[in-house]
């Protein structure tokens, strides 16, 4: 099969790999019909996530058709499914609590040592990411072996085309959980840092959950326009003093909840962020936390901080004093995708949530390297890239 393969920083290629087969009884094999490039794939592309090896197949947002099901799978050949990026066994303590991304059993035992040393507890398995999360072959491929296929994938009705449901695999539930973690109440102002895909879905979700005012912050005009189109007020941080603006837009009190949808490769012009950038480049520190610092400084006393943005290591100059003295609540984590799927699928079917506005480009899987390049260097207009394994090379629909 053909699959997008990591070769090194800023070097991904479509290579030929052996087709996957059923290995464990609960596996299924999915023939991919649509797969997307995620913002967190750019962290891999930029080489800032540890444990990504040359030869790894990337991709964790995918859907397709079941072509083979193991004896213990509940799926049937021919079903259309969207596959969560988190691999979850459904049986361990955490899965029983619906904390699916904390699954104890999906990361192979020999892969758990590294994240256990880094974080104190091992991480769950994720598709197409780092070997810290299992090193599972990913979804930017013609076929994917899906472990625990009786727990993860959700069957979607034939009437719903791929683009309306594909983002159930990651970014829609991630944006939704980000808003849920902000614990939104009537009258609230919610600020979303980063108007990328997750940020935009967090905007949409916060409005559905009844926020009075949602403010989106970014520096890409087109992304800010999309946020405005969803009903958010916008701040361009290259033009505006963010902290001043947020105080003034909330009657001097500060926002009730802030959502960091930026993560470890924060942009920004403050000197602390520039120092973080240098450290990240020379390998002295992993995470740039400029947006996170601003979010913590901006939020009101007793406010809520929700962090869907991806971080991998240690942060410098993390304002723990502000967190404590203002009495903030912090909620974060990889998304418990399976927990949200039935509800979000219903909202899509009923037309309450439409995610198709996000897609800017559709490419053949063969052109995935160009998709990565543009998603990174032309972020203003390339807001979301969907790859089609069945398309011939060179076909593109913008």
């Amino acid at each position: 099969m053909r699959a997008l393969t990591y070769h090194g920083k800023h070097d991904v290629r479509v290579d030929t790999h052996p087709d996957p087969e059923i290995v464990n009884p609960r596996d299924a094999i999915i023939e991919v019909t649509s797969t997307a490039i995620c913002g967190s794939d750019l962290h891999l592309y930029n080489g800032v996530i540890p444990g990504v090896l040359s030869g790894d197949i990337l991709g964790h947002e995918f859907m397709g058709i079941v072509v083979e099901a193991g004896p213990k799978s509940t799926l049937r050949k021919g079903q259309r499914v969207v596959v969560p990026f988190t691999i979850s066994c459904g049986a361990c303590f955490h899965c029983r609590n619906e904390d699916y991304s904390a699954c104890d059993n999906s990361n192979p035992a020999e892969k758990q040592d590294a994240s256990e040393a880094l974080y104190g507890q091992p991480m769950a398995g994720l598709f197409g990411y780092s070997h810290l999360t299992g090193g599972y072959p990913g979804g930017q491929a013609e076929y994917v072996r899906v472990p625990f296929s009786d727990v993860g994938p959700i069957v979607v009705p034939d009437g719903l085309e791929d683009e309306r449901v594909l983002f159930l695999s990651d970014i829609l539930p991630t944006g939704w959980m980000a808003a849920e973690n902000a614990d939104i109440r009537g009258g609230d102002t919610v600020v979303v840092f980063g108007a990328g895909p997750v940020g935009l879905f967090a905007v949409q979700s916060a409005l559905v959950m009844g926020a009075e005012q949602v403010i989106a912050i970014d520096h890409y005009p087109h992304r800010l326009e999309l946020a405005r189109g969803l009903g958010a007020r916008i701040i361009d941080f290259t033009q505006t003093e963010v902290l001043d603006a947020l105080l003034e837009m909330t009657g001097g009190q500060g926002p009730d909840a802030v959502i960091d949808a930026v993560g470890m490769e924060s942009h920004g012009m403050r000197p602390d962020n520039l120092a973080d950038t240098v450290k990240q480049k020379v390998g002295m520190g992993a995470d740039r936390v400029g947006a996170l610092r601003t979010a913590i400084m901006a939020v009101r006393k007793g406010g809520r901080l929700s962090i869907p943005g991806v971080y991998g290591g240690l942060a410098d100059k993390f304002p723990i004093g502000a967190v404590m003295e203002k009495g903030l609540t912090v909620r974060t984590g990889q998304t418990h995708v399976q927990r949200y799927l039935p509800d979000l699928l219903r909202r899509i079917e009923e037309g309450e949530i439409d995610t198709t506005f996000l897609i800017s480009h559709r490419l053949s899987l063969e052109d995935a390297p160009a998709g990565y390049r543009n998603f990174l260097y032309n972020q203003n207009l390339w807001t979301k890239v969907v790859l089609k394994p069945k398309w011939e090379k060179g076909r593109m629909q913008a």
């Binding site: 087969e21 464990n24 059993n105 040592d113 398995g125 299992g134 599972y136």
Partner: protein, 220 residues
């Protein structure tokens, strides 16, 4: 009475002296500062330590005489009887213990373990059950003709709040070739402390999910 001020002698020697004095002064200052930061502040004498409640295997000291000791617990979301019964059927152990090639059980509680060692070698460990309490504990000790001298126990108890069974394994062994042998084994991830951690995780996977997670895309 007026003493004539000595005329400063800005000779080369004087400058060297002044510089040296300044450097000494700075050094002394730095030393003082370091002392202030690092020296113990006056305080009561070190109190006598009392034994704490942590398992002995988590002690900072991990070797006892010639023996290395390791241990690990895991909580398995299954009933205690089921977990015990699975373990007690020794041939099952090679399903989740990566370096165990096979386990044979012979009459009289004698176990014969064929264990993979670094560089493609195998060792045969022969053990006898020295204590068995059904549903609670199995303890073993190596027989004199075993390749490796070892003893250990695995205990089973109910996890609080209906969370299943806590399995705690404790293994003491005399590393072949002493500390050097232990280091070599660790390099090949064939050392009991590394292995026991991973093996218990695989046991948990097998009993909770019916399979052992792998990222392999093909059977072979």
């Amino acid at each position: 009475m007026d003493q004539p001020h000595p005329t400063p002698r800005w000779t080369a020697d004087g400058r060297v002296l002044a510089t040296a004095a300044a450097a000494l002064g700075l050094g002394a200052l730095a030393g003082l500062a370091a002392y202030g930061v690092l020296a113990p502040s006056p305080r009561a004498p070190e109190p006598r330590r009392i034994p704490d409640d942590a398992p002995g295997r988590t002690a900072r000291q991990a070797r006892f005489g010639d023996f290395a000791v390791t241990g690990r617990s895991v909580t398995i979301n299954r009933p205690r009887e089921e977990v015990f019964a699975f373990w007690r059927h020794f041939p099952n152990l090679s399903q989740f213990m990566e370096n165990i090639e096979s386990v044979r059980e012979e009459p009289g509680g004698l176990g014969i373990w064929t264990i993979r060692a670094p560089l493609g070698m195998t060792v045969e460990v022969r053990t006898r059950i020295v204590n068995e309490r059904p549903g609670e504990q199995i303890a073993w000790r190596s027989t004199p003709d075993s390749d490796v001298e070892t003893e250990g126990k695995v205990s089973f108890r109910d996890a609080p709040g209906g969370r299943g069974t806590i399995v705690a394994a404790l293994v003491a062994w005399k590393p072949p070739f002493g500390a050097l042998g232990q280091t070599v084994a660790r390099l090949f991830a064939a050392e009991p402390s590394v292995q026991s951690r991973r093996d218990l995780k695989r046991l948990k996977m097998l009993l909770e999910t019916g399979e052992i997670a792998t990222n392999r895309n093909r059977k072979a």
